[in-house]
């Protein structure tokens, strides 16, 4: 297995070097950002072109980072969600408080929470870029938390079992998850890149070391 990372001490190749070479072995792609058109994505795409197994693969990346795909996959695998609705313009039957997530090619860190019904139409108009792109709406029923998931470990003890299940289902080594804690239950709302400084690299290092030993 080839470990590709800029940040992990035990990596075998940097992303840039990896992209310039043919691939003949399975790949573990460790990055805090797998967004489309970023290096993290290209590493997985390069491995796929050469027909080798890669973690995560491009389908898994897209399933996690595109909000409707994330929620549909979570539902299928029984990971709790509280549903979503896609809109491109304000509707009469929308209620607050609500979490809004932009489903467009340009935005990262797009999550907004709107508590007042009067502010909702303006926010939908803005986030949909005047009805050009959908906005994913999630009801807010609990406390909203951002956690960092690293190989199934969570930066927050309360969500450790949830992070383990998330990794099992989505196979994304590192990401930021937006969740709600509602009556003790952890509910998934969104997945996006973590910032490099948010990642506990000692946890990542420990996990990678174990994976290497098991090969």
């Amino acid at each position: 297995m080839i470990i590709v990372s800029e940040d992990e001490d035990e990596s075998d190749s940097s992303p840039l070097l990896f992209l310039r070479q043919p691939v003949h072995d399975s790949v573990l792609n460790i990055n805090h950002d797998y967004r489309y058109l970023r290096m993290g994505y290209y590493v997985s795409a390069h491995a796929e072109t050469y027909g080798v197994e890669v973690t995560p693969d491009c389908t898994e990346i897209m399933d996690a980072y595109r909000n409707p795909l994330l929620i549909e996959k979570a539902r299928r695998y029984g990971l709790p969600t509280n549903g979503y609705r896609l809109v491109t313009k304000p509707k009469d039957d929308l209620s607050t408080p609500v979490m809004l997530l932009a489903v467009n090619p340009f935005t990262n860190n797009s999550m907004k929470i709107v508590k007042s019904g009067s502010k909702l139409p303006g926010m939908i108009k803005k986030m949909s870029m005047d009805s050009r792109f959908p906005v994913s709406l999630h009801p807010v029923r609990g406390e909203v938390l951002e956690i960092i998931q690293m190989f199934g470990e969570s930066s927050n003890d309360e969500t450790s079992e949830f992070a383990r299940r998330f990794f099992e289902i989505f196979n994304i080594p590192i990401c930021k998850l937006i969740v709600q804690i509602d009556d003790g239950n952890v509910i998934l709302n969104h997945c996006e890149p973590a910032l490099r400084k948010e990642v506990k690299w000692d946890i990542v290092h420990e996990k990678v070391h174990k994976i290497k030993q098991s090969i």
Binding site: L19, R20, D63, T88, V103, P134
Partner: protein
């Protein structure tokens, strides 16, 4: 069968595109199928259908990718499928695919912003001059520019690198037209010449400050040369078994593939002029 055709409002702006969409609908209905146009807000209705045909512009960043993937997961027959969208929408991934599969194509390099003199010299030594600079997400000849010297290469690439980590720099191959080979299920569906407008160097060129498209000349698909057919089918098989449009240059050194596109243009009075059965063949691919 119930066929959903995912479109956006802009698909109806151009008369030829609008007429082609209506031909798809009437063809499907004459074959006994239901054919409905669906838009972004109908995404959650996808499981109601048996097949999905995407005509809105596809890209992994667009709504069309979400529609395609949801349809695939719901067991629908899908054109364009998610893998084809991911592969064809990104010219850096195509560069990789061409290298891996020895596809005859202009010499190309990935560029990530190494402006050392050694690298700049090496680019022109390897590719010649001028060179073509492309972003991975280029479409309809946009985000593609020609650089005739080092200064232009630096200027253009710095502009594009603001939005992309990777660019493709390619040998410039001059021609009066590109072959457009339409492929469906790894068979030739139609054949056209996409002409380069006079005074331009690509199919959509800026001439005297205005965007000008070259003519489209349809050619009978049966007249395709065996070599071009063989190259086209071999490449389409590397991507999948969907609907593709290949752009190929004919040179003294043989054919050189520029790119393979998912979601190829099909306009009434253009691609369909000679082989008029392309609508029926696409509907058949969706329902069989």
């Amino acid at each position: 069968m119930k066929i959903a055709c995912f479109v956006e409002a802009y698909n109806f702006d151009d008369k030829s595109e609008r007429n082609a969409l209506l031909k798809f609908k009437s063809t499907a209905e004459s074959m006994g199928h239901l054919f409905e146009f669906i838009f972004k807000e109908d995404i959650t209705r996808i499981p109601e259908y048996d097949a999905l045909f995407i005509r809105a512009t596809t890209d992994p960043s667009n709504s069309a990718y979400i529609v395609s993937r949801l349809a695939e997961q719901s067991g629908l027959k899908v054109i364009d499928d998610p893998r084809s969208i991911r592969t064809c929408s990104n010219k850096a991934i195509l560069h990789d695919l061409f290298l891996k599969n020895n596809v005859p194509s202009p010499r190309s390099l990935l560029f990530t912003g190494d402006y050392s003199q050694e690298n700049l010299d090496s680019i022109f030594k390897t590719l010649g001059c001028p060179v073509v600079i492309k972003t991975p997400y280029t479409r309809f000849s946009s985000h593609v520019e020609k650089a005739g010297n080092e200064k232009e290469l630096i200027e253009i690439s710095k502009k594009y690198l603001r939005k992309s980590k990777v660019l493709i720099i390619q040998e410039y191959v001059q021609s009066h037209f590109d072959w457009r080979v339409g492929i469906l299920r790894n068979k030739v569906l139609y054949l056209c010449k996409y002409c380069i407008p006079e005074g331009g160097w690509k199919v959509k060129s800026k001439i005297n400050g205005k965007n000008v498209w070259g003519d489209t000349i349809a050619v009978p698909r049966d007249s395709i040369s065996p070599e071009l057919e063989n190259i086209s089918i071999s490449l389409s098989k590397c991507v999948g078994d969907g609907l593709y449009g290949l752009d190929v240059k004919e040179t003294d050194d043989g054919y050189k593939v520029i790119e393979i596109n998912d979601n190829p243009s099909i306009y009434d009075g253009y691609e369909d002029t000679i082989d008029t059965d392309i609508y029926e063949k696409i509907i058949n691919a969706l329902v069989s």
